[in-house]
Symmetry: C2
Subunit: 337 residues, 2 copies
DNA sequence: ATCGATTCCGCAATCGGTTGCGGGTTCGAT
DNA sequence: ATCGAACCCGCAACCGATTGCGGAATCGAT
């Protein structure tokens, strides 16, 4: 802050009035005569006066800053979320202070402390994978700061939340496969102890049930990374002749399995249809382009900020905590009929 | 900021001393007796006192905050850059205020103003595509605030800079093709009026020259998006029989051209080798995985912050502006021999 | 008892802006 | 001439910290 900004006192001195008068003139306080007001305003304009946000925050006890803790910025989903948050926040006159925990509990605690030190008005949090203990968040909450969890929520804490409807996304994907003629659908699943693994599996199961297709557990494989697909290729190829569709728990496994099949003479989607679950732009560059479920990170970001600001601007209203569910939507491309 | 944080005055009152004493005790000022110091320190610890960063910034005329303006957060390259910046900045005791211009000049101006209003200590900027006029940046610079450009630099402004060595990256990529046996190398290029188009083309040309391979302009195609590859597929296929290597100006065109060739019976890399220029994780999921030039966004981010902090902490030293060049490196995968 | 030197701590100003309250000036009315 | 009401504006406190300076208390020395 070497650059010496012009202050209200500078203006006051140069105009021979008091700082109070300058302050009031600039904000059209009725106590100030029109003459003085114009004088101050035009002069302030001329010298490009800009109020010091720090001083304002200190005085008003409000920083107009939102604190964000996110596991990793370098993730298409999270960067979309940030983008959505940023757009809405700036539109509403808030700025953002962004921290990444790098999936590290200790850094999450440090980050939270830094945000609180800066007196952010509210918190947006997606917890790290290594966070098993929530005292830091609990304390913040108890101290009264508004907080919204998104995507990686914390069950123990009663706050506003924004989450993806994984169940519904999986149901939509599987239903799409069924409606385009598939009957024997392989599900490449994440571990059942992870929420997304559980919810997407159940969505898959529900779609089958709705269409009276029996659920065959031998068609549900724990396999949620590209590497895992590669190491299970033999097993997948033995299954291949008896299936006509695949629902992958994420795009990279869907694309990987597609490649394995193609290398072995299967045509996509003529022989087997494939649907993924969106985690980025890779779906569009797959060959053929992958039909997938879009996660709407940008929208989730906007929604989280909307909830937070709503709470900030109605501090009195004891609104019940809301859980906003973002329903993902199917993007039909070329790997399904 | 509804939560009522505990202040130095609160502590003073409860301990029956003056705020000055508390302040000094907390920072081991010799004027304070050991007895008082311990009293204050243990009490402060007990009530979890944390200094108000706003008040400190106002008083010290230093915010320990770095302002960032980036075109788009949702871009693997830029989010890597941000990640690198964030990691180093927090490690050095700085926080970051992040704005995205969305490639919009007007928003860039607004963002800059917001950052200056918040009295950030320094600026990290990558200019938007639509920015043709630099008064806003010029004014900031004139007012004396340290600024570092990265990736999308502004030639007219004399500042520290961090850029990718596109020429060298292209030279390395092309050389790799030559050294693995290619002689007729197609270059899918960006427009020559863009810096990356020009520099990567020249790197390509230099590599050929170094190996005494004549440059054939009919093997340089202006074609830098996936869509463009698709619309030029016929032309590319007529060229295909006479070439043995392709250098794509970015990964998505490299992958696209690879797919076109594969669909027409060419084997990669047996018949034709392909090398891209890195813009994300898509290279690894291509089939076969794409050999490409890695852009090192994370490192660029760290380097930019390093330059900025260096200037902030040696305000007196009239260091000459530096241009830090990040040399990208080749990542050999399976599309080249 | 008085003085000088230490030791330890508080007053008050400052950073930049906001705001309750009180006061001076001008005016018309009586 | 006197009073009261508008009309304008400044004083000072405040937000939470820091810091130069001065001063009270204590001690030993003369």
């Amino acid at each position: 802050m070497k650059p010496t900004h012009i202050t209200i006192k500078d203006i006051a001195k140069m105009l021979g009035v008091s700082p109070s008068t300058v302050s009031r003139a600039l904000k059209d306080h009725p106590d100030i005569s029109e003459e003085t007001r114009n004088l101050v305003k035009t002069f302030a304009e001329k010298v490009k006066y800009r109020p010091n946000a720090l001083a304002l925050s200190l005085r008003k006890q409000k920083t107009n800053t939102l604190g964000l803790i996110v596991p990793e910025i370098v993730h298409h989903f999270f960067s979309s979320v940030i983008s959505g948050m940023e757009d809405l926040a700036y539109g509403e006159g808030y700025t953002m202070m962004i921290c990444q925990s790098n999936e590290n509990f200790y850094r999450e605690v440090i980050n939270l402390q830094a945000l609180l030190d800066h007196r952010v008005d509210g918190l947006l949090v997606s917890i790290s994978k290594t966070t098993r203990e929530f005292n830091h968040l609990h304390n913040a909450l108890d101290s009264g700061i508004p907080m919204v969890f998104f995507d990686r929520i914390c069950d123990e804490l009663d706050t506003d939340r924004v989450i993806t409807d994984d169940f519904e996304g999986a149901r939509i994907a599987t239903t799409h496969l069924i409606e385009t003629g598939c009957r024997k659908i392989l599900h490449l699943a994440a571990p059942r102890h992870l929420l997304i693994g559980k919810n997407r599996y159940e969505g898959y199961a529900q779609a089958l049930k709705n269409h009276k297709i029996p659920l065959d557990e031998s068609l549900v494989l724990k396999c949620d990374t590209r590497e895992e697909v590669m190491s299970m290729r033999q097993h997948i190829l033995t299954l291949a002749p008896q299936i006509d569709g695949i629902f992958g728990v994420n795009d990279s496994t869907a694309i990987a399995v597609m490649q394995v099949l193609q290398e072995n003479g299967y045509r996509i989607p003529q022989d087997i249809s494939v649907v993924g679950f969106g985690d980025g732009p890779i779906a569009t560059i797959a060959s053929p382009p992958l039909t997938t479920v879009e996660q709407k990170g940008y929208e989730m970001g906007r929604e989280a900020v909307r909830l937070l600001i709503q709470r900030l601007e109605n501090p009195s209203a004891m609104i019940n905590n809301q859980t906003k569910i973002i329903t993902p939507s199917l993007v039909r491309r070329k790997t399904s009929r």
